[in-house]
């Protein structure tokens, strides 16, 4: 064996050892079950998203996952819990825009705006303007024309929530009269009241009113997304009728700032891989959300930053944030 071959071999061996060492260093994470902190109670929409992701995650991340339900304070209890855990990547948060609004209002406790590092987006569900079948407004144009002459009644969830802010934002961008906002506990109640004729309109996710849309009890007028929805091919997007507005219910995973960079990377790869698995994709498809919901860290972080900016402006204009 010539000398240079020997050196090559030695070098190769050395590299292999190094590589193995590096791999081992990475394999040290995760070293125990990963906790997924959510603000939703067991059985809430966000909780179910977490559990659907978790079905195939143990294979991708090579560890068990457990959900920690820390309800309360629109996410502030979950922030309080996450900040009490070591920032070693074994605690990840499943956040929604609600968390971001809570942060913007300074209710995040020790967690401040900018302390969240996105890992991967899990769901993106566009908001759709809907009216009851008996409503006089047949098209988006009818609705907007009427809303420019008088205040219409919109069903939303809690005041200061994401869809409340979306309604106000939509009214502003379309130049409508100030909407009368009627808050409800959940999307189901709003759908019932749309059909019952108690409300003029509401921004809802497609899945929330799917059976009513199919039964011609509820009409979808505007989709607040960049592209038309496959499930609503007839309904124009907001941009198509001249209102540049995009609103969606978004959920994604995040960790707190200070978590080591290499571990964030492991988490990103593992989560994206498990969410591209069949079970999670089936869940997305059957709940009317696009397969493109799952995106990696870069896109998700950009979206978080963008929402923090627009959300801040909305809270200030509503007077909720001084």
């Amino acid at each position: 064996m010539p000398a240079h071959q020997k050196t090559c071999l030695a070098l190769g061996f050395g590299l292999a050892v190094l590589a193995a060492g590096a791999v081992r260093a990475q394999e040290a994470f995760p070293s125990k079950p990963i906790e997924v902190v959510t603000h939703a109670g067991v059985g809430g929409g966000t909780d179910i998203t977490a559990r659907m992701m978790m079905v195939q995650a143990p294979a991708a991340l090579k560890t068990e996952l457990v959900v920690a339900n820390k309800t309360g304070g629109s996410g502030s209890a979950s922030f309080g819990y996450a900040v009490s855990r070591p920032k070693d990547g074994h605690t990840i948060m499943l956040i929604t825009q609600t968390h971001l609004l809570t942060l913007l209002q300074g209710k995040g406790g020790a967690v401040k705006v900018g302390d969240l590092v996105g890992i991967a987006r899990a769901t993106e569900d566009p908001q759709v303007l809907m009216v009851g079948a008996n409503s006089p407004y047949k098209t988006a144009q009818d609705f907007i024309a009427a809303a420019k002459t008088k205040s219409l009644k919109f069903g939303t969830t809690q005041i200061g929530s994401v869809d409340h802010i979306a309604v106000v934002g939509f009214a502003e961008k379309a130049g409508l009269w100030k909407p009368i906002v009627v808050p409800f506990r959940g999307g189901g109640d709003i759908v019932v009241n749309l059909v019952g004729g108690n409300l003029d309109g509401a921004l809802l996710n497609y899945a929330e009113a799917e059976s009513q849309i199919k039964a011609n009890e509820v009409r979808a007028l505007i989709v607040f997304a960049k592209n038309k929805m496959d499930s609503l091919p007839q309904t124009p997007t907001a941009a198509e009728i001249g209102i540049p507005a995009v609103y969606s219910t978004t959920r994604g995973f995040a960790v707190l700032k200070g978590t080591p960079e290499d571990r964030i990377k492991v988490l990103e790869e593992g989560l994206v891989k498990s969410m591209q698995g069949k079970i999670y994709q089936d869940y997305l498809k059957s709940s009317g959300q696009s397969a493109g919901s799952v995106v990696g860290r870069a896109d998700w972080q950009a979206e978080i930053d963008e929402f923090l900016k627009t959300g801040d402006a909305a809270l200030v204009s509503l007077g909720i944030k001084k």
Binding site: R51, V55, I159, R185, E210, S286
Partner: protein
């Protein structure tokens, strides 16, 4: 009909029967444990059901749902700790019966009444789901407001103290319901900076405190009193006379529970509370209520299980879940690719009937389980107090902590234990508080929603027929005692006059 038979055929499949049996046993256990409810269990097991076939997965969840509602009554009767909020009305009379040494009778009646209510509602579901579901659309905020007022007007009757004290306790419950973030303005009320309180007080910790912990304190004061050992009767099941006595209560509550269950915003807990009041109102033995009336068990138990079938109506026919558990069943259906809605009844009848069959089977299975287990469970009342109650305390802590993983909830529970003890000491029954807490949020929110919908014009309430009808019923039921006396007085004087002639 073919679809019906095809659906029922799943009961001939040993695998399906095994799945339903597993769901039923699990449901009874988690229903009885204060820390675990049917909805929590369904949520935890949802990912597992995805790996099953759609029929098996939904049958499994349905069986858990049916059985858990029954299971809650076991701990309510034996240790005054409702295993599920819907069993709280069962504790009012069930626990006094158990103390009297009649645990078996109470458990047996709860089993039978639950099954009858459950089976009745499943038949309603089979026959009339698409039709009845439309009723949900005619219930907007004004109608729910009128219904909640009707429920609250019953307060004077619930529990075992004078009417005025009951009203005060009920109003206290309504006040407690305002704790947390105000839905209408997003303002925190009475939270004192504790984020866990911003979602409002949890029903489970409040109930556990009021019933179990306050009873623990009462028992502490009675340790020197040697209890009479009435244990010999503890294992005895209800007699035929008992069933005859409760037939009316079961029938009435099954209908009422099914109807309340159909309304998406109301669930098994409200169904049980309202049925308890109605059972009492129509009973010939009103004085027994609160002291261990067997009708007081039959009514709410028939109702809360009837509400199970009822709440499946809007879930399956409209895709709008009527309770926490049906929300998860709905998620389970959707994940399996089953789209709920009116079309489901035409497109996938076999699957629907399979779901109905599994719910029927589950109701029948827990009758067998319940009657066998009643004798076994009844022995719990024979455990010495010094061993039983510390154990109850542990379960109460786990029960309060479990759902939200929050120590604040445990403190809330202990706080309400002391409040419940003080209330009982001064002659206030804690029972109306539950009613106030359950309906208080609804009264406030539907009132404000109605006013927004009516552009702040109160008079528009009277333009809605259902609202007017409910207001009339409320007024009649509040005035009923006076009316009855006036009528009795009038007929008596008429008879006297006739006699004079």
């Amino acid at each position: 009909m073919d679809a019906f038979l095809a659906g029922m055929a799943i009961l001939a499949d040993p695998y399906m029967v095994g799945i339903i049996l597993a769901g039923t046993v699990l449901g009874v256990i988690v229903g009885a444990l204060p820390g675990l409810s049917g909805s929590t269990t369904a949520a935890l097991l949802l990912p597992i059901t995805i790996t099953m076939s759609p029929v098996a997965g939904i049958a499994f969840l349905g069986a858990i749902y049916c059985a858990a509602n029954f299971g809650g009554s076991i701990t309510a009767i034996l240790i005054n700790t409702p295993g599920d909020p819907s069993a709280s009305a069962t504790a009012y009379d069930g626990y006094p019966m158990a103390r009297r040494g009649e645990a078996g009778r109470a458990l047996g009646m709860s089993t039978i009444a639950s099954a009858i209510g459950g089976i009745f509602s499943v038949f309603v579901l089979i026959v009339a789901a698409p039709l009845l579901a439309k009723a949900a659309y005619s219930f907007g905020p004004p109608e729910y407001f009128a219904l909640a007022i009707f429920g609250l007007s019953m307060l004077a009757a619930v529990g075992s103290s004078t009417g005025i004290k009951n009203l005060m306790v009920g109003a206290f419950g309504v006040l407690l319901a305002t704790i947390g973030l105000d839905l209408m303005t997003g303002v925190d009320r009475f939270t004192f900076g504790v984020p866990e309180l911003s979602e409002g007080l949890g029903l489970v910790p409040v109930l556990t405190g009021l019933f179990a912990i306050s009873e623990l304190l009462v028992q502490a004061g009675r340790l020197q009193i040697i209890p009479e050992r009435l244990g010999l009767n503890a294992m005895k099941l209800p007699s035929m006379a008992d069933y005859r006595k409760c037939a009316k209560a079961i029938g009435l509550s099954s209908v009422l529970g099914t109807f309340i269950g159909i309304l998406p915003a109301l669930g098994a807990t409200t169904a049980a509370l309202i049925s308890y009041n109605e059972t009492r109102r129509w009973s010939k033995y009103k004085d027994e209520f609160g002291k261990g009336s067997i009708e007081g068990i039959a009514g709410p138990e028939a109702a809360n299980n009837a509400a199970v079938g009822g709440s499946m109506v809007p879930t399956l026919a409209l895709g709008i879940p009527g309770s926490a558990t049906t929300a998860i069943i709905l998620a389970g259906l959707i994940v399996q690719g089953v789209r709920p809605g009116p079309h489901l009844f035409n497109e996938q009848p076999a699957l629907l009937y399979a779901v109905f069959a599994s719910m029927l089977a589950s109701n029948l299975m827990y009758v067998v389980l319940g009657l066998f287990a009643a004798k076994l469970f009844a022995r719990i009342t024979l455990i010495p107090d010094a061993i039983l109650w510390p154990g109850v305390l542990v379960f109460a802590i786990v029960g309060a902590y479990g759902p939200n993983q929050s120590l604040v909830d445990v403190w809330v529970m202990l706080g309400f234990g002391v409040i419940g003890y003080v209330m009982r000491r001064y002659g206030f029954s804690p029972a109306p508080l539950v009613m106030g807490l359950v309906l208080g949020t609804m009264v406030e929110e539907t009132l404000k929603q109605s006013l927004l919908i009516f552009d702040h014009n109160w008079l528009l309430f009277f333009t809605r027929p259902i609202v007017v009808a409910l207001f009339v019923v409320t007024a009649l039921s509040v005035c009923a005692p006076w009316l009855a006396r006036a009528i009795r007085g009038a007929t008596k004087s008429a008879r006297l006059r006739a006699a004079e002639k």
